[in-house]
Amino acid sequence: MTLRGDRRATSTALGYVLSLGIAAILVSGLIVAGGGLMESQRDQSARVELEVVGQTVADDLSSAARLADCDSCELQLRIDVPRRVAGESYLLRVVEVAAPDSYRLVLSTGRSDVSVDVRLRTRRPVEETTVTGGPLMVEYDPAAGELEVRSD
């Protein structure tokens, strides 16, 4: 007896295979697409958040420099910014562009490697430094005549 000519009950098996296959493709497609979306959204939101944090810090640094415009000034200003952006910690670097008043804040996340530059001008020199993201303290050093940024 041969089964070659026997086509009974194949549609049920075929139906199963097809529906499982299509469901698998659909689900994995959705997961891949969702993951990709997730990835790009995370980069984008990290960028947006770093920009916001950078501009907040730049603004507060300028304000601090405006306040500390005398040799006898003593100033401590706390800047409250989030510790994490898009679920990641980040570094903030103060880089001097042109002495004595032009600076660049470089904010970068570690894992997703998103980096944002914010330019600022201040009335007082700012010490070049690197701090981890989170609440910061800006302090004016009257002896050196410059502002220092450190983690609070």
Partner: protein, 415 residues
């Protein structure tokens, strides 16, 4: 064949897939939520405390300005009296400012510090013009001084056609405020490098310190203020009647003799009618006044801790006055011996040396010179030949110097 209804492994693919997708979308929503939070952060005012501190600083400077003006307006001839009035005014105003700041969430304090003694010059007689003690209308008001709060009240009806009262400021650049009447009515014209702006004068109030004529902004007048050390002189001051007042940063003692020497170059010091009297009965007169004041201020909030020194000198133009000044310059002549006693003061406390020089008045050549590193002292020039001399004192600090000049004659005055 197994019982289908008991097979619990069915639909695992869909379940796992749906779960994975749910996780993806959930974290996406968390992510977007954090973006929304950050965007919200971006719209917040970031430097509210810094702005409040700046407002407080400006309010404190304004308050000190008011206290200085209050103290300087008192009719007194003693600086101690003005200092007390100033302290009283500050003491009553500080708690008000502190209460006001406290309602704004900021703890503040103001600690009055130093006073810089200057001289206030007042011509309060409204029947005379801009004249010196002997009534002359061409004279020097101030020499080598920083000038602030220069106010005049001219009687506009006395500004006749063709009159031209000239008040000249010379701090290296010459600028002249001219009160004149070209036929169309009294007006103020400012002569300076570039075009000469004019402003009409109806009430007669000219405030050179704030650049206002009759209470309205007059373009160019504020620029006429001397920004550095300089001389103020008046020409044709007797053509109008006016009252006026101004404050200079020099101590009365050295200032008066220096102005006298400038105005009366042919008379010994003091001249028969000095440029300025010393009491409010004289016209014009000088009194010791507060030129500037400093204070320590502090402001703190949850996020801010701020301390600094502030300085108030109402209507001062240019850099803060930091030039040294003689608080005493007394030349005592006994026959042919000159004894010079001096005392000096410096707002920034960096006096370097004091020179006392004696010059022949006839040809300006040096007779004798002494240099001292002391801030106060005495020099004697004995057996000076019978001649007329300028006895000059120059006090020099790190960046500037001030001179006092007197005229004396070893052969007997007048020279």
């Amino acid at each position: 064949m197994a019982n289908v209804s008991e097979d619990r492994s069915r639909a695992q693919l869909l379940l796992v897939g749906a779960l994975a997708l749910a996780v993806v979308f959930l974290s996406l929503s968390l992510l977007l939520n954090s973006v929304i939070y950050t965007e919200n952060l971006a719209t917040r005012q970031t430097h509210a405390d810094a702005e409040k501190a700046t407002e407080f600083r400006l309010a404190a400077v304004d308050g000190l300005d008011g206290a200085i003006e209050h103290a300087n307006r008192r009719n007194t001839t003693a600086f101690a009296d003005r200092r007390d009035a100033y302290r009283d005014a500050v003491d009553s105003w500080v708690p008000i400012l502190a209460n006001y700041s406290a309602t704004d969430g900021m703890a503040t304090d103001v600690e009055p510090d130093e006073l810089h003694e200057g001289t206030r010059i007042v011509g309060a007689n409204n029947t005379t013009g801009l004249v010196r003690g002997d009534g002359a209308g061409d004279w020097t008001v101030a020499t080598d001084s920083k000038v602030r709060r220069f106010r005049l009240h001219v009687d506009p009806s006395t500004v006749g056609t063709g009159d031209e009262v000239r008040i000249t400021f010379d701090d290296g650049t010459t600028r002249t405020v001219v009160i004149e009447n070209p036929g169309s009515g009294p007006r103020v014209r400012i002569e300076r490098p570039g075009p000469d702006p004019t402003c009409s004068l109806s009430d007669g109030r000219i405030d050179i310190g704030t650049g206002r004529v009759d209470g309205e902004y007059c373009p160019g007048l504020a620029d006429a203020r001397p920004t550095g050390n300089g001389a103020v002189s008046i020409a044709n001051g007797d053509q109008v009647t006016a009252t006026y007042s101004l404050v200079v940063d020099r101590h009365q003692d050295g200032f008066r003799t220096d102005v006298d020497t400038e105005n009366y170059p042919t008379q010994c010091t003091p001249p028969s009618t000095p440029t300025y009297g010393t009491s409010s009965a004289d016209d014009p007169y000088t009194t010791p006044a507060i030129y500037a004041a400093t204070a320590e201020i502090g402001a703190s909030t949850r996020d801010l801790d701020y301390r600094r020194t502030i300085r108030a000198a109402p209507d001062e133009a240019g850099d803060p006055a930091s030039e040294p000044t003689f608080t005493q310059f007394l030349v005592t002549q006994s026959g042919n011996d000159f004894t010079v006693d001096w005392n000096t003061d410096d707002p920034n406390g960096d006096i370097d040396h004091v020179d006392v020089r004696v010059y022949y008045r006839t040809n300006d050549t040096l007779y004798a010179s002494e240099t001292s590193a002391l801030e106060s002292g005495t020099e004697t020039f004995a057996n000076v030949p019978d001649e007329a001399y300028y006895v000059n004192g120059t006090v020099t600090d790190a960046a500037s110097s001030r001179r006092v000049s007197e005229i004396h004659d070893a052969g007997g005055c007048p020279p």
